[in-house]
Amino acid sequence: MDFPSSLRPSLFMTGPLGLSDIPDLSFMCSWRDTLTLPESPPQNCKTAAPHSAKALLWQPAMPGPLPLLPPCPDPWDPGVTAQDLLFRGGFRYRRQPQAVLDVTEQLSRFLWDHGDIAFAPLGKMMLENFRLEGGRNRSKKPVVSAKRLLQDLSGHQPWGCPWAYLSHRLRRFSIVGGPVLGKSVSRLLGGLLHEELATRWERLLLDEAFTGGALAWLPGRTPQVGQLVYPAGGALDRLRFQDVILTSDSEPQVLGDPGCIQLQGPVRQVVTSTVQGETLLAVRSDYHCAVWKVGRQRRPAPLQVLQVEKGATGISLSPHLPGELALCSCSGAICLWTPQNGLQQVYKDPETLVFRDPSPWRWADFTAHPRVLTVGDRTGVKMIDTQGPPGCGLLLFRAGAEASCQKGERVLLTQYLGQSGPKSLPPTLHLICTQFSLYLVDERLPLVPMLKWNHDLPSPALLAHLLPLASPGAPQPLFLGGLGGQVRLLHITGKEASAPQLAGPPQSVPSPADSLSAFPLLEPKSQKQLLERLEAPTIGLASAFPPCASTPAVWLFQLSAAGDIFYQHLTLQTASSLHQDAGPPSDPEPDCPVPRTTAPPVDQRPIPSWTTGATACCSRWLEALLQVPSAPPVWAAPTFSHRRLLGRLKHQEVEGKVLQGLRAAMVGGRLLQQKDLGLLPPAELPPAPEPGPQDELSERLEEAWEGLATAWWRKQQGKAPEPGKQARRPKRRTQLSSTFSSLTSCLDLPDTASPPPTLEQIPTEARLVTPYSQESAEQLWVRGVHSERQQTLRDYMAKLPLPKSTPAPEHVAMPSSQASCVQATPSRLPTPGSQPQRKRPRMGF
C-alpha cells in the first residue's frame, strides 16, 4: 500500500482537551479542506481552474423522506422529556441556564400518587410496635392507638383533597409524631428517586444504546433487490426481514410480508457484512448477542447466541474473515467471537483510555490487519494486537490537544471505513465522531486526524455509513446521522497516494420531520401524534446503492424508534458552480471520470416538491396511524377516596350493550357516539339552538341592518340584567336536557322503566362522555350515586391516565373535577366541558 506522499500541514501538540493556547488550525472551513497545495509549482497559473470546487450535490427527489411501510400497530410513547425531569424556571439571573433535576416535584407527585407505597410500610410497622401509653401513675389506656389512626387513614388519602376530613386524632398525632416519623422514609425515597431521575436525564441527553444503528440492508442477488433488517414491535423485540425492490425512478416496492424472528429483548444494533460471498447478520440486544448466517434463499440460519452479563455495548463483524465478530461489554472487556471457536477475550480494562470518564460505554471494531482491533471509549481509541501480549497497544485517537478537541468533547462513535474496493479510499481509515466534529484517522499515522469537520449536528451522531464508489475515482458519499433524524452527507475522496479530503461542500439530507408538509392538516391532537411520530429518534440508517442506474442514485432508509421506516431517493448532480463565467472549466483528471449529468447551475436547480403519489402515500399512512391506539397510561392515580367510597358498595353486574359500548369508548379514550352503540335507530337530530335572546349579536346585526340599532340598544339597556340571565339559564338547561333525552330515549336500558326519561335517569355514561353534562352531574352527585354508575365510574377511574404536565384532553380532565366536588361546593373549573356556565361576551364595544 502506498502512503499519501505529502500530508497537509498541521500542528501537533500534546495535552489535555481544550488547551487554549494552541492556535487551532482547524479554525478552518469546509472549503479549506478542498484546497490542496500544489505539489510542484503550478505551471500555468491563470488557467488552472480549481477542479475540486465542483459543487457536488445529492439531490433528494422529495422535500422529505416518505414512510415505506404502514405504521407499526403497536402504540408508541415518546417517553419522558426534559419537561418532566427538570426544574422549571428559577434561572432568571444566570447567563447560562442550568439543568437542575426537579426532585421535589417528582417526590411530591410520588407521595400524592403512590401514597400507599410511600407510607403504608411505616404504618404497618407502627401497627405492631407502636404504643403511646400514659405515664405509670395513670391508667394504662393508650393515649394514641395506631390501629385507630390507621383505620382513619385506611383506603384513602386525606391529603388528596383539601376538604377531606381529618380527625382530631390524626391531627394530634401528626403534630406529636411528625418530627420523628417523617424523615427516614422520605430521605431514602428522595435518594433513590434522585438517582433514578439522574439516570433518566443522562439517557435523555445521550442514549448510547443505539450506537451503530439497528437497521441494515442486505443486498440481494441483483442490485435492485434487497432486504431490510430491522426490529419492530412496541418493544423492538421482533427482528424483521423485509424484501424491497428498488426501481430506478419511482418509490421502492415492498415485496410480501416480512419474515419475523421473535427475540427476548429489544434489538439495539443490527450489522451485516458480506465476506468472501458469505453474508452474516449480527444483532446486539442489551444482554444478548446473536449471529445468523444468511443463505442463498436469504433465509437466516441462526449460528450462535451469547449472553453478556454486564451488558453488551457494541458488536461488529469482521470485513476480512467470515464469521468473526468483535464484541465489547460494559465491564470493559473486548472479545473476539467466532461461532466455531467461541469467545476469546483480547482486552480488558475497566478504566478509560486517556483520562478518567465515568461512562462504561466501549466500542470495538476491526482494522486493516485482521488480527488488530480498535478499542474505543469516550476518551479515545486504541489499536490492540489480539496476538500480542495483553494490555499493550497504540493510541489511534486521543481526545486531547493532538486533535485539537474542545473542552468536554467525547467520542460517540468509531467506525472502520475499510472493505472498499480498489481506487477508493485506502483501507486504513477510521471514522471517529464526537458531539462536535467528525475525524478521519489513518491507522498508519495515529493521533493526527487526516480530516476534521465540524458537523454541528443538534443531536448525538451515533450513525454513520460510507457508501461504495459511484464510479471509479468519484468521491465516496459518507452519511452521518444524528439520533434526532438529521443526516449530513460528505463527499470524501482520497486514493492511496493522496490524503483523504472533502470533495465538495457537505450537505444536509432531509429528516423525517421535514415531511410534515406532505400530510394533510389535522386537528391538534392528531397533529401532535403525527409530529411525535415523525420526530421520534432515528435509531438506524441504511442505504442501498443500485450501481446500474444511469445517474448515480442512493436510497437512504431511516428507522425511527417508533418502528417506522422512512426512505428517500437521492441522485447525484454535479455542477461547476465556481467561475462559470471565467472560461470553460478544466477537464477533470483523466482517471477521475466524475459522472457529469447536465445539471443546471446550483441556484437554478428545481426545488423538490411533493408529488401527488407521495401525498397520497402519506395520507394512507396517516389514516393507518390514527387507527393505532395511543399508548396506554402507565398508571393512573386515584385522586380521591372513591376507593373507599365505592369499594364498600357491592358490585352490581350490569349488562347491556350500552355499557359495553361505553367501556370500549372509555378504553379508546374517544367520544361515545350513537353509531358505537350499534342497534340504535337513527335518532332525531338534536334541536338546533333556537335563535333565542342569547344570540344578541345576530339580533343586533339584524336590527342594525334595518336601521334600528339605536332603538335596540336602548331596549337592551332598559332591560334589567339579572332577571335576563336567570331567565336564560333554565332555557339553556332545557335545551341540554332535551339533547340528552333525544339521545337516551332510544336506549334500551334495563333499569329504566317505561316513563319518559327524566334528567335524573339519564345514565351517567352519557354525561361522562358528553362534555355538556357537568351541571346536571353535580346535582346527581348530591343526590347519591346509582349502583350501576358506581361500577362504571370505578372502571372509568381505573382507566384514568396519569396526569401529566401537558394539558390532558378534556374528557380526561373532567371527571376528576367532578369527583373532587363530592363533599364540597361545586367548583367550576374552566374546562371546555363547562361551557354552559361561561359568560357570553358582553355586548357593547
Partner: protein, 451 residues
C-alpha cells in the same frame, strides 16, 4: 486593553463548565443541552428580540449552506452581520469567527463570487477584532494560491508576517511561523520555476548568469522561512520536502540530512511515515551505505509494515549476508501480506513464493514455521479460501499461481486453494503449474500423511 485581550484569548466561558457539571457530573459537553433547557424554561430570562433574530438568521444561513443554496445563505448572512453590534459581549466576540467561517464558505462557492469579492471580504474581516488577523490572512493566502494568484498570496503573507499585536504570545508565534513557512513555499515555487527555465537555457547564454545569480539569492531567504516552523512539532511535509530540495540543490547535504533526521526522529513529532520515507529517499539519492538504509527502513517497518517500500526493504535484506537480516526478510513479507490492502499484490506474492523456496532450500524450515505459527489459524481463511481461489483465478492468473504455490507450501497438497488452481487447465500456465506441483511436493512444510 491588555485585560480585554486576556479575555479574548480564553475561549469557552466558565459558564459552560458549570452548566454541564451539575447534572451529568461527567464533564461531557452536550451541544443539545440548550435545546432541552429551552423547552423547559418557562420562567427563565427570555432572549432579547435582537438575539432571537440574529440566532434565527444564523441557523437559517447554516441550513441554506448545507443545502448548497448559496444566494439564500448570502442573504441571511447579510442580516446576520447585525450581531456585530450586539450588546452582549460574548456574542459579539464569537461573531467574527462565525462570520468568517460561514462568509468565506459562501463566497467560495457562490456562483457570482470572484476573487476580488473574496479578497475584499477577507480584508475587512481581518480587522474586526484583533485575534483573527493571522488566521484569516493565512486562509486568504491559501485561497489565492488555490486560484493560482501566487503574487497576491505572497503580498498577503508578507503583510501578515509583519503584523504584531501586544505581547507576542506563543500561539501568535506559531501562526507567524506558519505564515512564514507558506511564504517560503511560495518562494520555492518561483525558485523551482526559475530553475526549470534555467535548465532550458544554454549555459553560454548571457541571461544564464543573471538567472543563476537570482536563484542563488533565494537560498538564504527561504531557509529562514522554513527553519523556524519545522522545529515546532507537527506534520510539515510540503515544507520539509521543498526545503530539502533547495538545500540539496545548493549542495548543503549535511543541512538537508539534519533537517530530515530531526523531522523523522524527534520524539515530540508524531510518528509520520513520510518523515522516514523522505529520509530514506534522501539517503538513497546520497548513495548512503546499505546499513544506513536498512536502519531507516527498519523503523519504517515498525510504523507501517504495509508500505510498498517494504518490498524494497525485503530485497535489501535478502541481499544481506547476515543471517538475521535474511530471517527478517521473510518476516517483512509475511507482515506485508497480513494487511487487507496488500492481498492482491502480485509482486509481494511472487517475492514470498521465491523467497520461501530459497529459504526452504537453505534448510531454514524453522524460520518459516515460526512465521507460520501465528498465522496458521487465520491465513487459510483470509488468503487461501475456495472463494479467493475462484475469484483470483478469474481476475489475475499470475496472482493465483503465486498464491497457489505459497498455499501448497504452507498448507500441503490438500489445501483447497492449491487443489483448485491445480485443477484448472490453462494452456499457457500448464507447464508452470506442473512445475509448481513438483516444487510443492518437495518443499511443503507439511509432511504428507503416510498413506
Amino acid at each position: 486593553m491588555s485585560d480585554l485581550s486576556e479575555e479574548l484569548t480564553r475561549p469557552g466561558s466558565d459558564g459552560d463548565q458549570v452548566e454541564t457539571c451539575v447534572v451529568s457530573g461527567a464533564g461531557m459537553h452536550f451541544p443539545w443541552l440548550r435545546k432541552h433547557l429551552d423547552s423547559v424554561a418557562a420562567g427563565g430570562k427570555k432572549k432579547k428580540d435582537f438575539a432571537q433574530t440574529t440566532g434565527a438568521c444564523l441557523s437559517l444561513a447554516q441550513e441554506a449552506l448545507l443545502q448548497q443554496q448559496w444566494p439564500r445563505a448570502a442573504e441571511f448572512m447579510y442580516s446576520y452581520l447585525q450581531t456585530l453590534e450586539d450588546s452582549d459581549s460574548s456574542q459579539r466576540q464569537a461573531a467574527p469567527e462565525i462570520i468568517w467561517k460561514l462568509g468565506s464558505e459562501i463566497l467560495f462557492y457562490h456562483p457570482k463570487s470572484n476573487v476580488e469579492t473574496f479578497s475584499a471580504f477577507a480584508d475587512q474581516m481581518k480587522n474586526i477584532g484583533v485575534l483573527n488577523y493571522l488566521k484569516i490572512s493565512l486562509q486568504h493566502a491559501l485561497y489565492l494560491i488555490h486560484h493560482g494568484m501566487l503574487e497576491d498570496a505572497n503580498r498577503t503573507l508578507s503583510q501578515a508576517e509583519t503584523w504584531r499585536y501586544g505581547e507576542k504570545s506563543s500561539s501568535q508565534e506559531i501562526l507567524i511561523n506558519l505564515v512564514q513557512a507558506y511564504k517560503g513555499l511560495l518562494e520555492y515555487y518561483s525558485w523551482s520555476k526559475k530553475k526549470m527555465e534555467l535548465s532550458q537555457l544554454d549555459k553560454d547564454d548571457y541571461a544564464y548568469n543573471t538567472e543563476a545569480r537570482n536563484i542563488l539569492s533565494h537560498s538564504w531567504k527561504t531557509s529562514v522561512h522554513f527553519s523556524a516552523l519545522i522545529k515546532t512539532p507537527g506534520v510539515w511535509d510540503p515544507f520539509v520536502k521543498s526545503y530539502v530540495e533547495m538545500l540539496e540543490f545548493y549542495g548543503d547535504q549535511d543541512g538537508a540530512r539534519k533537517v530530515l533526521t530531526n523531522y523523522a526522529y524527534d520524539e515530540k513529532f508524531p510518528s509520520n511515515p513520510n518523515a522516514h520515507i523522505y529520509l530514506y529517499n534522501f539517503l538513497k539519492r546520497a548513495k548512503a551505505p546499505r546499513s544506513e538504509l536498512l536502519s531507516v527502513l527498519k523503523i519504517l517497518y515498525q510504523i507501517v509494515p504495509s508500505h510498498k517500500l517494504m518490498l524494497e526493504f525485503h530485497l535489501l535484506l535478502r541481499k544481506s549476508e547476515k543471517e538475521e537480516h535474511r530471517k527478517l526478510g521473510l518476516e517483512v513479507l509475511f507482515s506485508l501480506l497480513d494487511f487487507a490492502g496488500c492481498t492482491k499484490s502480485v509482486t509481494a506474492w511472487r517475492c514470498l513464493a521465491s523467497y520461501l523456496r530459497q529459504t526452504l532450500m537453505a534448510n531454514h524450515l524453522g524460520w518459516v514455521q515460526e512465521e507460520w505459527e501465528s498465522r496458521r489459524n487465520w491465513w487459510p481463511t483470509f488468503h487461501f479460501s475456495y472463494f479467493w481461489a475462484k475469484s483470483d483465478w478469474k481476475e489475475d492468473k499470475d496472482l493465483a499461481y503465486e498464491k497457489a504455490f505459497v498455499a501448497g507450501t504452507l498448507l500441503g497438497k490438500g489445501c483447497k486453494y492449491f487443489r483448485y488452481i491445480l485443477k484448472q487447465d490453462h494452456q499457457d500456465l500448464r507447464k508452470k503449474i506442473k512445475q509448481m506441483k513438483k516444487s510443492v511436493r518437495r518443499y511443503s512444510i507439511v509432511k504428507p500423511a503416510v498413506d
